[in-house]
């Protein structure tokens, strides 16, 4: 699996919010703000 490196374009993936809304990751950084993405492990 290819790992993401610094300087690369960040992949934007469409995901679902907890309320069932469709959200694109790019929606966050396209707002003009830096974004910290935290990928969790299992929810414990």
């Amino acid at each position: 699996m290819a790992q993401i490196k610094i300087g690369q374009a960040a992949p934007s993936v469409n995901l679902e919010s907890i309320d069932g809304k469709n959200v694109s990751l790019a929606d966050f950084w396209q707002d003009g703000r830096s974004t910290l993405l935290i990928f969790l492990r299992h929810l414990a």
Partner: protein, 130 residues
């Protein structure tokens, strides 16, 4: 995650957004939000499309190595509650900072569950982008 929640004001001062992503179900996600008191948006990725896109691996060996067992043992010794395993415990997480142009400025795929970037490193990268 606990530290990211407790340093919320510092992240806000740097005008940055924080987004948490989970491959879990909405049922467990709601419970986790309540338990963690996380104020950040939580997105669900049950198909793990984003996990794959960011190169985050599954590894049973690295997920349950001595570092992980030692970490959980110490946490329980300090009084933390063991909440059990909710989902695929082999899936590893990671942390990424993306600037407003969509370029990755920090990439930290976890080698094991205890491998997360120090909070000061996250704040430092965001400060430079500010």
């Amino acid at each position: 995650m606990t530290q990211v929640v407790s340093r919320k004001d510092d992240f806000e001062m740097l005008k940055s957004d924080i987004v948490t992503i989970s491959f879990g179900t909405s049922y467990w996600a709601r419970i986790w939000l309540e338990e963690s008191q996380s104020p950040y948006p939580l997105l669900l990725d049950t198909e793990r499309a984003a996990y794959r896109a960011y190169g985050l691996e599954r590894s049973l060996l690295r997920s349950w190595g001595w570092r992980t067992i030692s970490y959980y043992a110490q946490a329980m010794w300090k009084g933390e509650k063991w909440r059990g395993i909710r989902g695929d415990s082999s899936q590893l997480g990671g942390d990424f900072i993306v600037d407003p142009k969509g370029i990755v400025r920090l990439a930290h795929p976890s080698r094991d569950p205890t491998d997360r970037p120090p909070i000061e490193e996250l704040l430092s990268v965001l400060q430079k982008l500010n």
